[in-house]
Symmetry: C2
DNA sequence: AAATTAAGGTGAACAGTGTTTACTTTGTGA
DNA sequence: TCACAAAGTAAACACTGTTCACCTTAATTT
């Protein structure tokens, strides 16, 4: 207990860390993890490449922080919609639309957040502490919304919210990835004319929700 | 018109090309595109790294061929199910399940096929000739199945098969990617006990199909 | 059959990458 | 002031995809 909780040295350190992160963010958003090289990054902030390793253990750790802040942004936005007092159906649709919207605005962030971890890595110990990650929290917003739908009778009584949330999440994720990877989606061909992206997102959301609804109209 | 359509030289060339591809396939299936290096590959087949470039313009081109053959396999399997004469509902479910099954068996192939192209690349000229690609053909199997569902009255009359197919494809894609990237999925935590993967796939398929069904029953 | 052309194969190099090591400078706390 | 830790660096290590000049071998043409 020598100094204040935030010593000058510590604050200075955090400042530089932040400077590195914002410089990294700019490049990552435009070119992704492959486009972001430690050497280029070091040059941008007038440091030697090795200096970065005094602030981050590895490039992966640096990129992980970018991804985590992105999911914080995503969570905030979805939460804001979920907390509205608009009718349930509308609110649910808007949540899905917002998730897809925010995600596709920063495609590299979103894709990297899932693509990141090694694919065939052992089934043990993956995602430690998922519940406390931003990604995890975003999922639980989804789950509680489905719980509301079930308890108010909009959805079938026999749907398991936890299960349904995963299914819904997968569908949202799929649409997002499609848009992210196929620039023209929902058009599959540059020439094809179809629904606008926004309308398609709403259509997809409707489709998902319809799968949960009690079909007595 | 000097020789036969397949000259000895040509056949020899194709043989070596195939040898390279099968060696590449083995590594790619286990470690993905990043794990597959030209140098390691060259060593495996007792050639110099430069030799590979006499058979493939670039590593990307080589990997593209691996991806295309994978989608050929995927298409074959889905087609086999789609051509069955089992009841419609069952057949549809099995198609979805097979798609996810095959895809998750070769996670790197599947993920790379979508992740491959540059993310923010201009909206023009992406995916030239989608209709003729294996990926495109797989999509059209889906579309015609939905057409069958609509015409036989299982699905709502107002669903646009082309649109619904895209929505369904996105949902399938999402589940596949979830399984591919989260080793424990549908469990989100190693400790969590939930539906088996196979059962979850069927649940998800049900959910999707329910979204299309005419709800008078 | 001889000469010419094309294809197959190679070692070395170019331009990158993430990361580590040994070293120097700088700043802080005792 | 002195000692110790933190910050910063140049240079190297071990890689990567790719290209170039060069040589050998096979196929074609004269």
């Amino acid at each position: 207990m020598t100094a204040s909780v935030s010593s000058p040295a510590e604050r200075r350190r955090n400042k530089i860390r932040a400077r590195i992160l914002t410089a990294a963010e700019r490049v990552f958003a435009r070119e992704g993890a492959d486009g972001l090289s430690i050497r280029r990054l070091a040059e941008n902030i007038d440091y030697s490449p090795a200096a970065i390793y005094k602030y981050f253990k590895s490039k992966d750790e640096l990129v992980d922080e970018l991804k985590e802040s992105f999911f914080e942004l995503l969570l905030e936005n979805v939460h804001r919609i979920a907390d509205r007092s608009t009718p349930f159906a509308e609110r649910a649709r808007d949540c899905v639309a917002t998730y897809v919207q925010i995600a596709t605005e920063k495609p590299y962030h979103y894709a990297a957040a899932f693509t990141g971890q090694a694919l065939t890595s052992g089934p043990v110990d993956s995602e430690p502490g998922f519940e406390n990650s931003k990604k995890g929290q975003a999922f639980y917003v989804l789950r509680s919304m489905i719980e509301e739908g079930v308890s108010t009778g909009v959805f079938r009584k026999d749907v398991d919210p936890a299960l349904a949330a995963k299914s819904l999440w997968a569908s949202m994720h799929g649409l997002t990835m499609m848009i992210v990877h196929i620039p023209t989606f929902p058009a599959l061909n540059p020439a094809q004319n179809t629904l606008s992206r926004q309308d398609f997102i709403l259509f997809h959301a409707d489709q998902m929700i319809r799968g949960l609804e009690a079909n007595d109209g």
